[in-house]
């Protein structure tokens, strides 16, 4: 009897370990593909992979996070405005589902802050005021949940860089922000292997670009 209970436990442990391993593997592969993707079909394919993972792993927010991220990237590639909005709707749908699973995750608020500027880029004159406020609000929440989230600093620096100087933007104002972001990336350690860990290279590239163009 004792023995059979022991085997049962072993089987359970084994299968759990097995399942988890599948998840980790599927995620790692998909994440790698995500950051290699360049065209819309490539992004769609990887977004679909994350969607498939999310429908099994119903308590995990990460597959939804990456699916949402993929659709934001798709919206950057799309030229037609109506379609852009449609892709962002999809990104928002995944993000909302992820928030429902994990309401207090800094990375999810950061991603929300990343999504809003794409919305106002479609019609800046009409949407600017609405989405600027929403973006700031999301980023503040992201920082409150994790004051060291480097992606929040990176996004703020980028926004500042692209804003006209009269709004308090421009390269000079953005430079120290990119530097702070670089420091935050330096000390950042992702919680797990598959946790969000992107942005460092982009930040470095922007930093380099500014330092090269700025008068010494």
């Amino acid at each position: 009897m004792k023995k059979s209970i022991f085997t049962l436990v072993l089987v359970l442990l084994f299968s759990v370990g097995f399942a988890n391993d599948t998840y980790q593997k599927a995620m790692s592969q998909s994440i790698e593909k995500l950051f290699q993707a360049k065209t819309i079909p490539e992004y769609v394919e990887v977004a679909n992979q994350f969607e498939r993972i999310s429908q099994i792993e119903k308590t995990e927010w990460l597959p939804l996070y990456y699916a949402s991220f993929a659709y934001i990237m798709i919206s950057f590639q799309e030229a037609e405005n109506a379609k852009k909005d449609q892709y962002l709707d999809q990104a928002q749908k995944y993000l909302d589902q992820a928030m429902a699973i994990e309401p207090n995750e800094s990375e999810l608020y950061m991603l929300q802050g990343f999504l809003y500027p794409s919305r106002f880029n479609i019609d800046p004159m009409a949407r600017g005021m609405l989405y600027m406020g929403k973006m700031n609000e999301s980023l503040e929440k992201a920082l409150a949940l994790n004051p060291d989230n480097p992606r929040v600093y990176y996004l703020r620096a980028t926004m500042t860089y692209h804003m006209p100087e009269t709004y308090g933007g421009g390269a000079a104002k953005a430079l120290p922000l990119f530097q702070t972001a670089a420091e935050k990336f330096q000390i950042f350690k992702p919680k797990t292997e598959i946790s969000p860990n992107w942005g460092k290279e982009m930040n470095e590239a922007e930093l380099k670009k500014i330092q090269e163009t700025m008068p010494k």
Binding site: K3, S4, T7, L10, V11, T22, A26, I40, P41, V44, E45, N48, Q49, E51, R52, I53, Q55, I56, N81, A82, D85, Q86, Y87, Q90, I122, D123, M125, A126, R127, M129, L130, G133, K134, N136, E137, P164, T166, Y167, G168
Partner: protein, 710 residues
């Protein structure tokens, strides 16, 4: 030990029985077009793939037995089908996806309606557009004047729609009635809306054949949607050449509070920017607004909007009719409170409830005479809606308005003219979507007035059919009743409601950045108030025998795409209208109608100087008037109307704060527009009726404003 071994054997065995099954096939839409990029997978497994460029898929699965094959694609309903994976080694399937209902290119019933929204995606106007249209001078009703179907009536300022008078346009806020939406005005001078456009996230403006939810309006409705819960603390102050403004917003997790206040006086600017008016006391207005929003539960939202206004002014008015110069002093106070509460009720029902209160006091001292008017309105409204199924939405509503009016006149004796009306209304409306392309809406509205002792029941119908990806054709018609104006009811409460019938047909092409629409309409008026002499006061002088009609075509074109950083729209309206009402001796074109109306609004951002420039050109053809020196009725015409208005918005940093410098110039070119003429009641010594032209109080109006975000 042995048992562990058996387990391994068991696992190995079972693994070997996991014979892989290959699934292949194609995903298409309902018209057999392939859908590349669709997600096809076995539900609750990792097994699946993405369709290729011609919609084909192929993948292997280790799953066994009865499983769900699932497919999904943006803009389509998810697909699910049971499959027996043990049945064969290769399974092929053709998957047809149905388009989902919430696609943005779904048909929307919109005949007669212009919608401005920050929330919805494809709309004609945004709130920002209203705030920056120069000829509007920050007035919502002024901005509506650049849309087709609206007449230019410069001496009035209200919204005159398709051969209808100003009072035929009713204003609502979050679906609740606003009894006094315009500020009190001096004779021959335009009025303005009471509310700042920045308080609203959307406006529904309908120029005809609107839903059964709206009643007591013959021509048009304007429903302003107040901002939702605020999410950012903010404050700002503005200094204008005509006064001061301040606002502050505070947010909590589930609620927000905003306060606005302003003092407006043209005293200073009158010295620089001379008006053609002899002011004794320049207009002075004080306004305060409070907005509170509270989320309750999961779906509930409570909104409170309250506003207070007091304004005073005094002028010498050359009264041509009487041939004297009068001293007119105006003092008015207005309070408006609007409470709405919306929430979901159970799974299917949505309930909207509202309670509104409006108080208006106006006192006019006319030389030694005095006219004091008090109006009080209380409204309670309840609206239920539910989806009976995916295609059908049902709306049911009830509405009670208690309105009391009292006018006290002191003029060789004291007179009191009071009346009270209880208006009870109910409506039912069903919207049915036969397909993604075809929708219809049928509604009925019943109204009962206690004062007029009259019950009316009217039908409303509209339908829309999508003719292409971005184009649709719509048709709407309906009947509308409205109680006679207060100025008639106070003398003659036995009058019946006035009646209008509308038929509207629209063709529209709409994308995110381009809009084109043509709308043709027919309108018929019955039961209009008529009176036997110009200054009638005897109840027996009034009757409901007036009538009229209007036909026309409205064209609207807007383009934000073709020119870089440029947005422009063009509105053109042609109208043929006749009326026999008031003291008209025959059917004639009413004085507020011009046959052709044109507006061109051009907006452009100039990045080099960080300035947003807007220009409006307005044209209206001549308006008729009655000249008693000539024979016949409505026998003369004014010159046509022209206006060029400009506004510049310069974005800058001031004291390290984000700031805006805003300059508005109306009638830049200084056109000498004449809206009509006032004639003397008596002949002069030469046997002529003398006249004076009715003009704008300004040649050019210039307003400068600096706003600082704190």
């Amino acid at each position: 030990m042995r048992s562990i071994f058996t387990i391994f054997v068991f696992i190995l065995l079972s693994a070997s029985t996991f014979a892989q099954v290959r699934l292949s096939g194609k995903v298409t839409d309902s018209k057999n077009n392939p859908l590349p990029g669709a997600n096809v997978f076995i539900q609750n497994s990792y097994d699946g793939t993405t369709t290729d460029s011609i919609g084909n898929f192929s993948f292997k699965t280790d799953q066994k037995g009865i499983q769900n094959l699932s497919a999904s694609f943006i803009g389509y309903k998810p697909f699910l089908r049971k499959l027996d994976l043990d049945s064969a080694k290769t399974i092929s399937a053709i998957i047809i996806l149905q388009e989902s209902e919430d696609q943005i290119d779904e048909v929307v019933i919109n005949a007669g309606a212009f919608e401005a929204s920050d929330v919805k995606k494809a709309v004609v106007l945004r709130v920002f557009d209203i705030a920056t249209t120069p000829s509007a001078q920050g007035d919502i009703f002024g901005a509506l004047g650049t849309l087709p179907g609206v007449q230019k009536v410069g001496e009035d300022g209200r919204v005159f729609v398709r051969g209808g008078e100003g009072y035929e346009t009713k204003s609502f806020m979050d679906g609740m009635l606003v009894a006094t939406p315009y500020s009190s005005k001096m004779p021959d001078m335009p009025t303005r809306g009471r509310f700042s456009p920045l308080l609203f996230s959307g406006t529904l403006f309908s120029t005809g054949a609107y839903s059964a939810e709206y009643g007591q309006a013959l021509s048009s409705i304007v429903d302003m949607k107040t901002n939702s819960i605020e999410t950012e603390d903010k404050s700002s102050i503005s200094i204008m050449t005509v006064g001061l403004m301040g606002s502050t917003t505070k947010c909590w997790e589930k609620s927000s509070l905003s306060l606005n206040g302003d003092i407006v006086t043209s005293g200073l600017s009158n010295k620089i920017n001379k008006q053609q008016v002899d002011w004794i006391k320049s207009p002075l207005g004080i306004d305060g607004t409070v907005m509170y929003r509270q989320k309750t539960g999961k779906t509930g939202m409570y909104k409170l909007f309250g506003t207070f206004n007091n304004s005073t002014s005094e002028m010498f008015y050359p009264n041509t009719q009487l041939g004297t110069i009068q001293d007119i002093a105006l003092n008015s106070s207005n309070v408006y409170l609007n409470n709405t509460f919306n929430r979901q009720l159970g799974e299917n029902w949505m309930v909207k409830s509202g309670l509104a209160f409006n108080y208006d006091h106006q006192n006019i001292d006319l030389d030694k005479d005095q006219v004091a008017t008090n109006q009080k309105m209380i409204q309670a409204k309840l609206l239920f809606s539910r989806f009976l199924n995916e295609q059908t939405e049902l709306k049911l509503g009830a509405d009670w308005v208690n309105f009391s009016y009292e006018q006290k006149i002191r003029m060789d004796g004291n007179y009191r003219l009071p009346f009270t009306n209880n208006e009870l209304s109910g409506f039912a409306e069903m919207e049915y979507k036969l397909s993604k392309k075809f929708a219809t809406r049928l509604g009925f509205r019943a109204e009962n007035s206690s004062l007029l002792n009259e019950t009316t029941i009217v039908p409303r119908f509209s339908g829309a059919y999508k003719t292409g990806d971005h184009s649709q054709i719509s048709l709407a018609c309906g009947e509308f009743y409205q109680n006679p104006e207060n100025d008639y009811l106070k003398f003659a409460p036995q009058l019946k409601p006035e009646k209008a019938s509308h038929a509207v047909m629209t063709w529209q092409y709409l994308t995110e950045l381009k809009t084109f629409r043509v709308e043709g309409y027919l309108k018929k008026y019955n039961n209009l108030v008529k009176y036997t002499q110009p200054l009638a006061t005897n109840p027996l002088d009034f009757n409901n025998q007036g009538s009229g009609h209007a036909e026309g075509v409205d064209i609207f074109w807007r383009d934000k795409e073709t020119f870089k950083l440029t947005d422009y729209w063009i509105s053109y309206s042609w109208i043929n209208a006749r009326r026999n009402y008031k003291d008209y001796t025959m059917s004639a074109i009413p004085t507020f109608v011009s046959e052709h109306n044109l507006s061109v609004v051009y907006k452009r951002f100039l990045p080099a100087i960080n300035t947003y420039a807007s220009l409006t050109y307005s044209f209206a053809s001549s308006r008729p008037y009655h000249d008693p020196n000539l024979s016949g009725f409505m026998n003369a015409k004014t010159q046509s109307y022209n206006d060029i208005s400009l506004s510049l918005t310069y974005l800058m940093q001031m004291f390290g704060k984000q700031s805006v410098l805003h300059l508005m110039v109306n009638n830049l070119a200084g056109f000498d527009n004449v809206y009509g003429y006032n004639f003397s009641n008596t002949r002069n010594t030469a046997g002529k009726y003398e006249s004076t032209p009715i003009k704008s109080p300004f040649v050019r109006q210039i307003i400068l404003l600096v706003s600082i975000m704190l």
